[in-house]
Amino acid sequence: MTPATAGLDGAAGRYTGSRVHRVEDPRLLRGRGTFVDDVVRPRMLHACFVRSPFARARLGAVDATEALALPGVHAVFTAADLNPGVHEAWYTSMGKDVPDTPRPPLAEGEARFVGDPVALVVASDRYVAEDAVELVDVDYDPLPALVDYHDGPQADALVHERYAGNVAGSLGAPCPDDLAAVFASAAHDVSVTIHQQAYAPVPLETRGIIVEWSGEELTVWAATQAPHEVRMFLARLLGVAEHQVRVIMRDTGGAFGQKVLPMREDMCVALAARLLPAPVKWIEDRRENLMAAGMSRHEHGDLRMGFDGDGRVVGAYIDHTQDVGAYPTPWPVGTAAAVGMLFPGPYRVPRAGFRTTSVFSNTSGRTAYRGPWQFESVAREVLLDIAARRMGIDPAEVRRRNLLRRDELPCTNPNGMPYSDISPAETFEQALAMLDYDAFRRQQAEAREHGRHLGVGTCTYVEPTTTGMAYYGTEGATIRIEPTGTVNVYVSGGSTGNSLETAVVQLTADALGVDLADVRTVQGDTAVTPFGAGTGGSRSGSMLAGAVAETAGVLRERIVAIAAHLLEASPDDIELGESRAQVRGTPAAAVPLAKIADVAYFAPAKLPDGVPAGLEASGRHHARNPMIWANATHVCTCEVDVTTGAVRLLRYIVSEDCGPMINPSVVEGQIAGGTVQGIGGALFEHLAYDEDGNPLTTTFMDYLLPTATEVPAIEYGHVETPGPGPGGFKGVGEGGAIGAPPAVVNAVADALAPFGVEITRLPLTPATIVELIEGAR
């Protein structure tokens, strides 16, 4: 094995690019992880929220007398107690200048959805806190609610008084006349409205936070994707200095966007902690999580796409409207623009336009969820299949005629998105080849003759990862080579299952030429790690690689200088590997890193001139690109039982281009996890409300996550186009959840094509499939 000489050259590294065992696993497999609910503090109290049972109600008096009389109850806080404690409440990731939507800690004046936190009970344990919640008497005066955001602009009810027509904001423009003219003169002018239901991230670990105020320092244990954002946000919230706040997270049990920002409950707990004599823990229960931790995906698009006589796209327009619930987190309007801007996708689309409108409703607020803009793919890819059938061309063929080819790249899409370093045509062909598309079509035809309904669907998308903007634009690392030669790497963290510890250890071992076992990493403690934006936007791989490279580069230079001095060789002849430095070609002339470290710390007199004592450095990577593009193709086949409407997924193939892989197992794990969430969204998951605004799916008996018996084996294909950032790495965290819903929908639609069915509404429950078939008959 050649010692690594070029630390971050993805494929060439000793560990980078290989399926090394995860460093997180031993503690997690043995039940010795530390999730927020595992943390116990002396005298710790437990919090539970009183939540509105009404979708909309005027709030009268809160009578806590009985609750406070219950032994073990310490306090019952209302909005009057907590809300005045807010100094500032804006997110670093969004900046303070966005026209943010309301987000009071406890509901003020009016409760705006079922689950809206109205009061906070603090007691000696969660059992007693729940007893006390039942004893808090809130005077509710129910008001007419706006449950369905479709009704928002016309509704008499206003979710927030100062937002006319319940519109939180709008971007883009109505379809311009010249684009409308393109459609009107196109050989095929395809209009369709596609609806997506509300579903949610649903991490297996719910939200949770412990806040301890010492009078000078606020210490916070949190389930979070971004400990430094939690720190900055809470410091501003409470009006204390950033360095008075320490946020610690070790293990977080999944997040997928839901834990990217502190939400209203976190604000309440932090505000309450200032008023309590002891630390306070809040662990959300599952009912709260499904009722109040936010929803995503609820939106629709009025779509129009024009094609010429050969099925080539001549123009595309989306008028997008999304439900943002009562209290969206964060400001939802800007994110929604991505739906419009990415709607043309990886296709050659000469003309395009979009408008996006965010509408409030008296339901759980919209939150970030893995590929928050994924509706662009749902809309476009489902539309393409519908258009293909209307034109009488195979859906794969329509895509083949329109997909961007390598010789057309880089290029800018008609909405201004600057695509580069992508391979949509290649992933498409690879995925179809893995399936043997033509063979499947033959099998399908044969099956149809026997009354069986098979279908195939695809989705090809292009995805911006690793945004280089503002808060997300830099990432730091500190590396300490300890006096014994072992290595600790400090990065901000925020790993929620995405293996950031393993990735950083791999990257550092290669960058310094040390053995994997000699490297450990410290993450998720703002007191000791450099600032970083945490997990989000598929950024961690690239940004951490940059941070490690930046920092390790400084140390390599120092190690080489010391080694050269000790070995009496030229620095140019020193190579590093296997935790030692040696003169190239002369294995006998070598010095272990432990010896170099020993000299660096304990014998500074032996150091060459100009080399500082110690082996510790900090560096910060600064992203040079506004984003790094990734792309993939999903192909799904299914069989539909037209009697029951049951869908059985047969094969599932993902061909993706995330550039070189730091760890293929981690990449595939991200793809599979996202894909199964997308399958859930297409077939099972629905955060539903009745017409009065009562949530119908607040347990796992009603909110259906896919289980091992519902998911197919996932097959992976890789195409590797290095991106412009460190190591050529691209993001891969979100794509699975983007590509899967349209692939599954298209597969079902393909199976049902003989019935003349067009699918425009998710989710595809067995009952809705039967309804579609019956409706078409």
Binding site: R22, G31, Y127, P203, V666, G669, A708, T709
Partner: protein, 158 residues
């Protein structure tokens, strides 16, 4: 409401405690025994994260009251690895096959898998899927978990 004295074996150690009847076995293990590897993902008996062995059978510890476990034998995730901290074959298979990501559901899967493979040393792929269908995972898409069980079963067989 009277508290009740109980005595049970937890990971082979005799444990005595006085508990309110409503304390779930899951909370007893986490709060009274400090065995926080047993996780609570739903507290209503669907997600499987709190699975432990009760007299050798995989059960949801959120649906058992600690008082009901009086006199019985409980094994948690912390009781499955070797005395030297080495991973059990099932745990090792999860590691080898990327069978975990965030690790929150993992103890429930591992405990379920240990009991399943003990009782079904030569399972089919469908039996493996069914065996873990009472455990929810949101990170892995189940791919690595199913591969881990397959590998652990094959290792037992040979």
């Amino acid at each position: 409401m009277g508290e009740i004295e109980i005595e049970l074996r937890v990971n082979e150690a005799v444990t005595r405690s006085t508990v309110p009847p409503r304390l779930t076995l899951a909370d007893f293990l986490r709060e009274r025994c400090g065995l926080t590897g047993t996780h609570l993902g739903c507290e209503h008996g669907v997600c499987g994260a709190c699975t432990v062995l009760l007299d050798g059978d995989a059960v949801r510890s959120c649906l058992v009251f600690a008082v009901q476990a009086d006199g019985h034998d409980v094994t948690t995730i912390e009781g499955l690895d070797g005395p030297d901290g080495s991973l059990s074959p099932v745990q090792q298979a999860f590691r080898d096959h990327h069978g975990l990501q965030c690790g929150f559901c993992t103890p429930g899967f591992v405990v379920t898998a240990e009991a399943f493979l003990r009782d079904n040393p030569d399972p089919t792929d469908d039996q493996i899927r069914e065996a873990v269908s009472g455990n929810l995972c949101r990170c892995t898409g189940y791919q690595g978990i199913l591969a881990a069980l397959r590998a652990a079963a094959d290792a037992v067989e040979t």
